[in-house]
Amino acid sequence: MRFAHGAAPATVCEACRSTVMRELDALVVAGKVSAFSRDLSPIQLGVRGSVDGKDFQVVGVLRKAREGVRWNEWYLLFSDGTDGYLGEGNGFYQVFSEPPQQVPHDAAQLYAGARATLGGIEWTVTEAAEARVVAADGTLPFAAVQDTPTAYADLRSVDGRRVGTLDAVDSPPTLWVGRIVPLTAMALQGLRPITGWSDPVITDFHGPEVTQVRSLACPNCGGAITLRAPGASVNLGCEYCGSELGIQEVGDKTNAQVLEARDKRDWKPSLPLGQRGELDGVQWEVIGAMGRHVTVDYIDYHWTEYFLYNPYRGFRYLVEDGRGHWSLVRQLPDTPGAASGRRASYQGRRFRHYTGGTAVVNRVLGEFSWEVRTGDQALTDDYVAPPFMLSAERSEHEITWSLGEYRTPDQVGDAFGLELGRAVGMAPHVPNPYAEPSQNRKAWTFGVLLLAGAVLLFLGQAVTAANDVLMSQGWSTSAQGEEVFLTEPFTVPDTLRRNLYVEISSALSRGDAQVHTSLINTDNGAVYHPIDTSKRNKATGRVWRATPGSYVGRVEIARNPSKTPSSDLKGLKLTVTLDKPWRSPLFLLFFYALLAPLALVLAKGAFETKRWSESDHAG
């Protein structure tokens, strides 16, 4: 037996399990306490680490419990001589490294959901209850005796950045202020190796491997149940008979008691219990599955939540909706900002409210770290910023936030080595395939390049085109009789570009007469009719690759027989230009250049319209 810290008031004798405390110069036995089982955590006495710029060593542990919840409090000795705690519960690790302060407050006034300003910080009470000590080891901050009740309140700062514990053992109560830190961020050395598990970041282990799996028999059907997270599970759905069981720790043993008996399990979720898979480089094991539904307009919408466990990383969830879409979800240690009405924000990302309702648990299988029973209800709200979804669950005493990221069935299937069904329809946070930034950038870049090419072509043509007027001749006519006008001869040279731009402009209206235009090659007899004046008497046309040679223009006036035009003379002019710049295809190219980016914009908008048509805010 030893005191790892000179100022520590108590320690546990490993031999007789007595809690020994210092009283003046004497050692006094305060009582007995159960041993802390080795398979309940990867942390063990002697582990070293670093947090908030201070090195520490784990010198003791308290395991506490209240109705439906169990957690560990690792007693830390820092290199600067101060002490603190590492709280371990529900997959989160909370470090309390700041010196505690005594705050005059009536702890009895605290209840879940209450607000209080303690130690200069505004807090929301997340939990207020009485816990008891169920196990202890090593050097302790107080004389912990088995089942010693301690009143406490768990706090979360209003800004979401800090956690707190108000310990009401003393009077006035002691406030511990800390923050949530991942296990992988504490540079831990000497962790307990757990059989079958490894981690890409945590590689320094000490001592023999521990198998973190316990077997117990279902008290209803006798089936051999495998408890895969013995330190965390408080609830279990029997994989054989489907009965709902409560998990209790009695000393070093685990017992199960029937909460609701069933005859048979009639549910087979897509991911079986015990299946392991790797997601984002971390291995996870499916230890539980829960079926839930919400009812909207008398229609039940079902989904399944898979509870994933890794002893070094805590918990995650995989959510499979009724259409085969998946999300990888983690519970948030802090509170999103500005979550009200239709908007929420978290870590710089803005979310829009998609749907809300009352989620009802309809099936339970495997282990859970909180009490979950068939029929449990929670008010839910989902906010989306694809591919992410921010979800809030409100029960009677608390609000829990979680963040999900969309995963395809292929991604989940590949991770777990399973063939999963295809996803159909829309998920609220499925990524918009037309909003992918690199694709949009590419479309606009290509569009701009094509546009630039068209502009260069336009300018090049304007500079190099001959734009030569070969012939321009005019007449006056009253169109009272049919007339034919011939131009002076003109020559089309034998050049590379021999396109002729022919323009007829006439003051005659279609009611007066119709004007027909021809170009006659007097060398080879070719006659071109470049202009269609079926709609009006003022028009243009082109002759491409006109045969070089001598030409005469012919203009014929065909009078409307049902109308006699006035005797006023009206002008008529025929112009033939060689190699006039041709702009039509370039305008087509301008439009084509923008086709892809504009199509993406339209497709993106259509996709979003479809997404939101299924939300609570459709129309």
Partner: protein, 72 residues
């Protein structure tokens, strides 16, 4: 190759084609054309167009004289 890249490739083809057409004056289409005999070539005033060749044209007049005028 995805649609965006395909669209760009097609656009480059269009650009190249348009550039070639602008440079050479070549197009796949040409104005309506017919060929007339030597007699008409020598006397363009005697040319009588065949209106069946022309989309949208229709004879709306009857020949009742008139004549040919040339020059301005």
């Amino acid at each position: 190759m995805n649609l965006v890249t395909g669209h760009f490739g097609l656009g480059l083809l269009f650009l190249a084609g348009a550039g070639g057409m602008v440079a050479t004056g070549w197009t796949p289409t040409s104005a309506k054309q017919e060929t007339v005999p030597v007699s008409v070539r020598d006397n363009p005033a005697s040319y009588k167009p065949s209106y069946a060749l022309f989309r949208g044209y229709h004879v709306i007049y009857t020949t009742s004289g008139g004549g040919y005028r040339s020059g301005k």
